[in-house]
Amino acid sequence: MFAGKNVVYEYDGTFDGFFSCVFESFQNKETPVDIRRFDQPQQTLDPARFIATNASHAARVQKAIPQKIGRGAGLLVRDAFLTFLPQKELHMLRFLQAGFAAGPGILRNLTDDTVCTLQKAQRHLYNESHRFKQFIRFSATEKVLSAVIRPRNQVLPLIAPHFIDRYPLESFLIYDETNGMALVYRPRQAAIIPVDNFVMDQPDETEQMYRQLWREYYDTIAIEERYNPKCRMSHMPKRYWDNMTEFCRPARPGLRGAAR
């Protein structure tokens, strides 16, 4: 194992940038105390070293992962990078160090601290992505469908294929407010781009009608004798409700199913 070194790696926040840090660590046979984006506040007093992104270094690391540790490891690292796990870069580096030393067996070592931490973060990412496949609500104007989400992880890359396959002939936009990104699609063309600010159009009459119809439906299908808010909450935590049509209603008191 590499020696710990009193240094913090700073990088540009890209995936290639992270792999350049990994390269640096292996080249110097050292483990930094932290790896962080250069624009993030400093947590320790250790000296920082900026690691410039180097495409060929990154490519070498990226290529070696599936070869030496296996495809699952490549996926785990890719996914972990999208999570909001604190110090994710450091966990990923430790995992790669251990993985290059141990080979593919590392992934079966479910009780290893690093593996366990990363897999847990990965599961959280998957669960959250699934939640957004469920709970995203689009508003339709004549030309586009648009939606706003507030995820913890960066879910856009994971949910993009699903929605592109679902609405191949529509134009749509999903704005991730947390990470300042948007998935933008128009037939046969998709991109995830940084977006600072996005405000939804005011709903037109048709849109309002369908929203109202949906609320009507939502309220009607609940069976009163089975009322079970705890169960509803466990399947659909409150934090998703903000952007869900059935819970955003023009103020009218006393409606069943309304946020309470």
Partner: protein, 438 residues
């Protein structure tokens, strides 16, 4: 009548059908339409009663020429009636689908005019969706008993799943409560669908691109608690249905009093939700855990224990098989440990290849030990600090639903157990209570 009112009436009458899953078919979009389907199904919201809402579940009409006693739509019930036109319903489905409210449509109907006419209207709706909108999302269609087989065949080519609800679990109950129906009139379309499914499988082997007949298979539903049928009868009937008709799912629906018919439970009877829950648990054990119906219940013990789930009940009656060593126990046996599910069992199998599993390790990989600890040993040892006090064991094995149920419904029967006082519970009492198959 405007669309709002129609939607209200026709979803209100459909809500007692419990099947709302969109699972069983994985389909990519054809690139020139709208929609796809995910094998695991997607719940788009949960209603205030905690149930998954995946599909727009409505009746085409709640007009019905029949008079089944347990059904809100029966002819003799005084109720506002409505009907969608096929176009209205297809448009509504697409607009809901575009906004990601739903995975697709669950279409059922009362019988207007006659079964054939009803079936034709349903087909029209689905044809607009599939052919005009090129909709690739999920469609579940109820087969209308008594409709011509050629029509059922056409319906099945448009739908992903079909169902015929058996509703009452025995012929006797059917005779009394659904005079217009008989077991054969229900089983006939069910048999037709499973026959077509088998043929279609052969066609698909021969011609890869042969059109698919209900690719997500067929399901059915039974009402629980409207009739005196026991859990044992219901479970046996459902496992027979799985075998004979290759059903994908049997759904259970706790009976909501919707009628004052003296043959049915009184209007203030609460729906037997816990019983419904136990039946689902048992159904799960039959489908995914390798259990057989007769392992769970028998003639002498025809009802599930309300206090604990069926697996736990089974385990307590087979303590001679426990505790098992997690390091070496076969997968099938791990699955039989209360508190260990498919995910946990699989993780144990993977993790133990890499080294010896301790209790800490089990916890780390996400195995919940609260109940499992009484039935396993890890690395040759029982869990640290686990002294099996009857009191503790009882408290951890009884499910929360069981407790709620006991406090609500069974106060006298279980009073002697002093579940809620600190009085020590005797060994014999605990065993008797938990092992009871009632």
């Amino acid at each position: 009548m405007d669309l709002f009112e129609k939607l209200k009436i026709l979803s209100d009458s459909a809500k007692y059908d419990v099947a709302c899953t969109s699972s069983g078919v994985d389909r990519k979009n054809g690139k020139d339409g709208i929609g796809n389907a995910a094998a695991c199904g997607i719940c788009h919201t949960f209603s205030a009663d905690g149930r998954c809402v995946s599909l727009l579940k409505v009746l085409l009409t709640n007009v019905c020429v029949y008079d089944c006693a347990y059904c809100v739509n029966r002819r003799s019930n005084d109720l506002p009636r409505a009907a969608f036109t096929p176009r209205e319903l297809a448009d509504l489905t697409i607009e809901f689908y575009r906004r990601n409210y739903i995975e697709g449509l669950f279409l059922s109907s009362g019988v207007m005019k006659n079964p054939d006419y009803t079936c034709e209207q349903m087909i029209k709706t689905l044809e607009i969706l599939r052919n005009e909108y090129r909709f690739f999302g999920y469609i579940h269609a109820k087969a209308i008993p008594g409709a011509d087989e050629a029509l059922l065949q056409r319906l099945g080519m448009l739908a992903d799943r079909m169902s015929v609800n058996i509703e009452l679990p025995s012929q006797k109950s059917l005779n009394r409560l659904a005079p217009d129906k008989s077991k054969t009139s229900i089983l006939k379309p069910m048999g037709f669908i499973s026959g077509r499914l088998r043929e279609n499988k052969r066609e698909l082997i021969k011609y890869q691109h042969a059109p698919k007949f209900v690719p997500a298979g067929q399901s059915t539903q039974m009402i629980i608690g409207a009739t005196p049928d026991t859990d044992y009868q219901i479970l046996n009937l459902s496992s027979a249905l799985y075998q004979k008709y290759r059903l994908k799912r049997v759904f259970f629906s706790a009976y909501m009093p919707v009628s004052t018919n003296p043959l049915l439970p009184a209007a203030d009877t609460p729906p037997p939700l816990l019983r419904e829950h136990r039946l689902y648990q048992a159904d799960w054990l039959l489908r995914f855990y390798g259990f057989k119906a007769e392992e769970l219940l028998d003639e002498e013990h025809p009802h599930f224990n309300p206090l604990i789930d069926p697996k736990c009940n089974w385990a307590l009656n087979h303590m001679e098989l426990f505790p098992i060593e997690v390091q070496t126990a076969p997968y099938e046996m791990l699955l039989r440990v209360p508190g260990i599910g498919v995910t946990s069992a699989k993780r144990i199998i993977t993790a133990r290849k890499a080294g010896t599993l301790s209790y800490a390790g089990l916890k780390k990989i996400g195995v919940v030990l609260k109940r499992a600890q009484y039935f396993i040993i890890a690395g040759g040892k029982l869990a640290d600090g686990l002294h099996i006090t009857q009191d503790g064991m009882l408290r951890s094995l009884i499910s929360q639903q069981g407790l709620d149920y006991v406090s609500r419904q069974l106060p006298q029967q279980y009073e002697q157990l002093s579940l809620f006082s600190d009085h020590k519970i005797g060994d014999m009492e605990v065993r008797a209570c938990l092992q009871a198959k009632m």
